[in-house]
Subunit: 481 residues, 2 copies
């Protein structure tokens, strides 16, 4: 394969969609499967997912959650038990009709989400207030037939995610849980993925089917389309009633339980690519990079090799001891230039070059992925300097994406203005809303934009941007992935 | 629920099968789903699986393996590509025929194992010797319709497992990989699960469908039935040919690759239960116990509470710092006696009681789960004593199960003797075999026993135990799960 084939052949600014696909394929994050809509998550992509998973899993466990596993296949009768939920998911579920040569007496669906199968168990496990709260999380995949074109991480017929399902004695406890999880998500997204996110609730039209209300984190991608990063739902008693999840309270009476569910998926990898990537490929924030530092030996005469490799070995060992995720690229069949391109394509935050000149000067040469900056550091100061540079990259990426968010957020005071912004500039449009679904649908029909969220802290003021009636809420609108 | 309902109500020696099921359900390891053959892995069971997974994942990564994820659904044409493989799995696969209301143009199977979907990708990913070896592992679940009765962890229509799939340039490298993995499995099984395992190859009849040969680890359960703990297959070029996994060698010629696949599943949790459990419930080896030490406060007057809890808090903190997995059971709605029963049922290796007398004497009271031994330890010596007791439990369990394996292994020099042992005593029977499938099938028909393995280090000697012709191999026969 020539270097041209290896690298991304289209500029991000010229064809964002093609650029995205090339980064996914050429950085070996994922690949298309034979079956329509499905992808494989390749080892490098999976390693990013493992980083994300670890951050979340630690956050969940620190707040008392535990993991479990529930069946992939759900009997049709269970899926039907909550009517809205069934209506919402049935157009896109995969149906299992046979086992071997035998037709099943009842059809099974491959889980599109696990509420209904889990709550059938919860009805048996929850008996008394002593059994509450139930705080269970699952790491699994869910399947929803994707009829539109496939886009890796964003639109696929199967995706990896986590889904949390909790049971509480009161609405207040469920409310608190919803916000506790949203904060764990926010930390992951802002502090690890370096992507700012707006927080708020979904409108009735956009909430999760079957939920009392849905809270969401929404980020703005550089092409002006919003991406839903994670959602946390208060299910109220909407599922506990049909599934009969009841408990004996301290008052010796039976009560229906209150529930939450919440999830984030591998679409966060898609967000990472879009938000931080450039014409050379992926740019990974150090905190979630599977490889934070790659060492590349640079020598032209073979006699320098053993001393260069010795210095690299020592440097790598010191950084590993310091908690750094380090890779040494000692392949002899590739040139240093080839390796630079490959690790830039894969977004490794920091490259350290070591050549004969560095041996002479007892130094390492550090090259930042995000801005290309080169800097030599004396051997003695390696750990401190690497830590400081990695922290610097993490901050710089967040700052850059925060500025982008600001630039991509506009105010609209009329329907004309709103339409013009959505069509010409894209991004978030802050507007006023009367709360009527008709206005929401009118905007969608005219511009393709949805209400992405109703911020927690902003009340409505003045008049609805669409109909002119008194506003009851401030909303953020955008076209979205 | 009364204490009687909470505990296991049948003796292990009286009804092993019922005892097993009660331990699974009452220790809250798993529960039956509405759909036939499926179970949920409950949080306590999942926590054991997380321990097992960590040991293996560390072992795989230390030997250069990486994780990835491949689709759940496999197009029928792919599954059909290797004929033997298809024939072997098709009677038990779940078929997806519809997405939403639309019939699919090609049926999909829910993966019963992932060879065929993965190798379709490998055909594209492997081009040159530079791309080899490919060392990929998956953590997922697979589905095989279980028509016989369900037995949690041992016979279920879906199970969690890992499956490794590697590609190599030569048969020798594939051979080495097969053995490298078998050793990782052996370490897990013997050194962490405290269960001795015999190692060897499977007969042609018993090997994985589509493999060149299968290596296996087999353990003996206390009821005299063998359990296959893990298998590691050399697939030869049996898949690389139909899937066209070829590479350009250093010799500039195209070669078909050599492959391996290997896996262990959550049946290892079943093995743990059967091997170490007793009439009170589960007994977990410390190395894989999610909770190694549980503190139970013991006081009758409320004024002792705060001092007891203070001492427990300090003890727990010290043990955690020492790398111990510790739980403090501070629930006020249960008595100490209730708690003892619950944690014994759940197999926690070591209980530490703290009451007013222990405050007085500045000591902790240690109670071993495996033999009930009580021992006080001065506060100062807590860490050392706990470490030494946990190590002692780990060794004692392995020693006990090693003695059991020895007692359950017999020699047979005639077909009559073989039949008698299998029918009256069970366990492994060491015998001589001519290598003829007819003899293998005759034993199976007469006794229900299979050739579980052909040990690596034992050649045949004398005459076949079944037909009397010259023996070519020593074999271990047993009835099995």
């Amino acid at each position: 394969m020539s270097r041209k084939d290896l690298g991304v052949s289209v500029k991000r600014s010229e064809d964002f969609s093609e650029w995205y696909t090339q980064v996914v394929l050429k950085a070996e994050l994922a690949d298309y499967a034979a079956a329509k809509g499905f992808i494989a998550l390749r080892p490098f992509g999976y390693a990013i997912w493992e980083q994300i998973r670890q951050v979340l899993d630690d956050g969940f466990k620190a707040t008392g959650h535990v993991n479990a596993y529930f069946p992939t296949l759900i009997p049709e009768t269970l899926l039907r038990r909550e009517a809205e939920h069934f209506e919402g998911f049935t157009p896109e579920v995969f149906w299992v009709t046979h086992a071997g040569n035998n037709e099943l007496s009842e059809r099974l669906v491959v889980r599109p989400t696990s509420e209904t199968i889990i709550y059938d168990f919860y009805a048996r496990w929850v008996r008394s207030w002593r059994d509450l709260p139930v705080l269970i999380n699952l790491w699994n995949s869910v399947l929803r037939a994707e009829i539109k074109s496939t886009k890796p991480f964003l639109r696929t017929s199967e995706f990896l995610w986590q889904e949390g399902h909790t049971v509480h004695a009161t609405k207040e406890e469920a409310d608190e849980e919803v916000m506790r999880i949203l904060e764990i998500y926010r930390k992951l997204i802002e502090e690890h993925l370096a992507i700012p996110a707006l927080r708020g609730t979904k409108s009735e039209k956009e909430k999760f089917v079957g939920a009392l209300y849905t809270t969401t984190l929404e980020s703005m991608m550089p092409d002006g389309k919003a991406l839903q990063m994670g959602t946390s739902h208060n299910l109220g008693q909407n599922f506990s009633k049909p599934f009969e999840i009841k408990f004996l309270g301290k008052d010796e009476k039976q009560h229906f339980a209150w529930q939450t569910s919440w999830g984030v998926s591998w679409r966060l990898i898609g967000a990472l690519i879009m938000m931080h990537g450039d014409d050379k490929g992926l740019v990974l924030p150090p905190r979630v990079a599977p490889i934070q530092v790659v060492f590349v030996p640079v020598y032209y005469k073979d006699d320098a090799r053993s001393m260069v490799m010795q210095k690299i070995k020592e440097g790598a060992e010191r950084l590993r001891k310091n908690g750094c995720r380090v890779h040494v690229d000692d392949r002899e069949e590739y040139t240093p230039g080839w390796k630079y391109n490959e690790w830039e394509l894969k977004g490794v935050p920091l490259r350290i070059e070591v050549g004969p000149k560095d041996l002479e000067k007892d130094q390492f040469m550090l090259v930042r992925r995000d801005n290309g900056e080169r800097k030599s550091v004396s051997s003695r100061g390696l750990e401190d300097e690497v830590k400081s540079v990695l922290d610097g990259i993490q901050s710089a990426l967040f700052e850059k994406s925060s500025i982008s968010l600001k630039q991509m957020t506009s105010n609209a005071s009329s329907m004309d203005e709103l339409t013009k912004i959505i069509e010409q500039k894209g991004g978030f449009v802050k507007a006023q809303w009367c709360g009527n679904k008709d206005c929401e649908e009118k905007v969608k029909a005219n511009t393709g934009a949805d209400i992405r969220l109703i911020p927690f802290d902003a009340k409505g003021s003045g008049s609805c941007t669409v109909c002119g009636n008194p506003a009851s809420a401030t909303v953020f609108l955008a076209r979205a992935y």
